[in-house]
């Protein structure tokens, strides 16, 4: 545990969702996936979305499936990643999504910006990226749940990504 980082987060007062550590962890994870899975990489960047548990990330995929009425089919072959990571590739409309399980948190990684926007709203009470957790949902059309992570989980994920030399 990096005492300085935990001290920094504690005294920032930003402990919940949409914080800077979550942002860093998302960026770091996107880069790691891009390096580890070059065969998936085209020109677009990867977007990472973190959830408090892998089961919450799975719930997002299931809800997305319900929305489009086009079933999302899990691929049977696991994606090769470092030993501590568990990941499964899912496919929707030809778009690939990685469902990741870190034990203490989960993630969805995609390179489709539209899919990312939808997933984000589903994991954050219907709010779009960059809006924050306001009470005004008058223009949001997706019934989202609360699958957000804490800054504390983001710190733990950053630590995990840092400790794995392959990332």
């Amino acid at each position: 545990m990096n005492r300085e980082l935990y001290e920094k987060v504690l005294f920032s007062g930003i402990w919940g969702t949409c914080g800077p550590m979550e942002d860093q962890a998302c960026q770091r994870l996107s880069k790691a996936v891009s390096r580890l899975l070059p065969f998936l990489d085209e020109d677009q960047p990867f977007y990472s979305l973190l959830t408090y548990a892998a089961s919450a990330a799975r719930q997002i995929l299931e809800l997305y499936s319900g929305m489009t009425e086009k079933p999302v089919t899990p691929k049977t072959e696991p994606v090769p990643l470092p030993a501590q990571w568990k990941a499964q590739a899912w496919e929707a409309d030809g778009k690939l999504v990685l469902l990741m399980d870190f034990g203490f948190a989960g993630a969805l990684v995609t390179r489709d910006p539209e899919l990312y926007q939808t997933f984000y709203a589903l994991h954050h009470c219907g709010h779009r990226p960059g809006i924050g957790a306001t009470v005004d949902l008058s223009e949001e059309s997706i019934l989202g749940g609360d699958m957000r992570i804490t800054e504390w989980q983001a710190l733990a994920l950053l630590d995990l990504l840092s400790s794995d030399s392959s990332t």
Binding site: L10, A53, F104, E140, D146, T150, L155
Partner: protein
Amino acid sequence: MFNPPAWPVMDASDLQLILEADPRALRGPMSRRFAKAFSDFTQAPYVIPVANGTVSLELILKALGIGPGDEVILPPYTFIATFSSIAYTGALPVFADIEPDTYNLSPLQTEEKITDHTRAIVAVAVAGRPFDLDAFEALSQQYGIPLIVDAAQAVGAEFCGRSIASYGAAASFSCQNTKNLTSGEGGIITTKDPVLYEKLQSLLDQEPGPCLGEVPCALLLSQLSRLPAQMEKRSAAADYLNAHLADSHLVRPLDRDERITRDAHHLYVLRTRTEELAAAGFSREDLLKDAHQMGLPLLAGYQPLYALPSVRSEMTRRLTGRQTDLTPLPVCEKASYQEGLWLEQFFLLSEIKELDEILEIFGTLERRYFS
């Protein structure tokens, strides 16, 4: 601009506990220590810390066996999570109107919505003020329908001297960043029912992901030690503001209910005196705008859930199997669009000098509108 006290509150004692926690673990010693401390605080025999105040409701509903084909009654004047947690089980959310003098779910309106398919009532302690728990427990017993207490905003609240955590089949709390007891995100389930507790634990045995992490549990443990003093301060501030606004022509505080022995005051709620303002040619929107310009960030509060695009969406209809009745409900309409005014809880941690500044803003606007 009026500057409220900083929120959340923290010091080195929080850090000390955090550093003792395993950041990758679930259901560890910090979780057990916090559950014990919260049980002592609320007198609720069973406590489960979970990831947030939405999944807590989802877990309670699942443990009660609620799913497709069932109906669950809720108020439309609440956060979207109350609705989404029901819809995600596949059950049909059914709206009942709120009470005009409290903005909490009306027992009479709720009873009118009970059908053969009703499997639960989720009543919300809006702003941290307990609803009529006597009436809802009586309804629950009369019809054999479990009462779920959505106490997301009501940590520490008491009704007739009993913790809100001890009412209903189970109670659900939120520890999101703005809440009176916070770890950034987090939720707490309390129940006095050992069978329901075992079902909840069984769900978490199968899928431990929704459990709250050890670091937020450690933080809640240290934050809980501050809560009683903060509650005293909020109550004193609310009483002070209520007393000084009792004769205002602009606003009126919520009605007092002697059975509420402790209001958690997550929000300080006022009602606009709409008729008097309208007679002078003004509205709540003028009051909101002018208060903002004077540095007081009053909020208009919830919109009715039935008016939200996400609730009216095809996705929601598919989740619940049928379309929820989206007919506007008159009391909620008035609260949402004409009357309701909120100040966030940390304003109630202000000193008297700052509270007087708030009162001065109301006084200035009253003189402006009625001169």
